[in-house]
Chain length 127, copies 2
């Protein structure tokens, strides 16, 4: 499987597949005589695994850890859970932060006349 086919099968752009090989995340198992990267089913599964983990917001480094656990049939689910819990806390922290921003900004937007006059509570709040 050339990189284009692996890209389609995994759902990642070829650029990203190549990038993941560059940083040693998911390497192509071999190269053809012409130097083309050659992906097999197992590599494609790993690429798709990483894609899904990234969609969950796991960092590349976390993906590295998850991938190692994915490949380790003797893993402890506790190890996976720890990573996921850390990510969950991060999400919750970000949610609280966004909620504060949202509420204050919504308040300001509501208070702003939005007409041709220069008076603006949004600017006032920033000044």
């Amino acid at each position: 499987m050339n990189i284009g086919a692996a890209s389609k099968a995994s759902g990642l752009p070829t650029k990203t597949v190549r990038y993941y090989a560059d940083i040693g995340l998911v390497e192509a198992p071999s190269r053809t005589g012409a130097g083309y990267r050659s992906y097999d089913e197992s590599a494609v599964r790993k690429l798709a695994f990483v894609r899904r983990a990234r969609e969950f917001g796991f960092s590349i480094d976390e993906c590295r850890g998850l991938l190692a656990l994915y490949e380790d049939s003797n893993r402890s689910s506790a190890d996976v859970k720890r990573i996921a819990e850390a990510r969950l806390e991060e999400i919750e922290r970000k949610q609280r932060e966004l909620q504060c921003l949202h509420d204050e900004l919504e308040h300001l937007v509501a208070a702003c006349a939005g007409d041709g006059r220069p008076d603006c509570p949004i600017i006032d709040r920033l000044a």
Copy 2:
């Protein structure tokens, strides 16, 4: 006012103050004989304005626009409101996205035994 004093007064690190000058966001009004940047009250107000706008999550480019409006005594509050509304929608989009992630991840974390066995619904979901 040297950059250190302007930094303290505005609440931005000196590195950032220098960076904002480099990208033409908030330039120091003048330089001393030795080449030190010299900030006045007005420049410090702009720096602090940008700091607060950044805390609201406005991008540097949005800050550029807000700063121009801040300085324009003939501004229309409608122009400010447009920028703020765009930011608000962005926040709401991100909130929805995070909520989805949160719910699914929380579900998975709850379903994971977190013990020494390898069976793990989190890994299963990513595989």
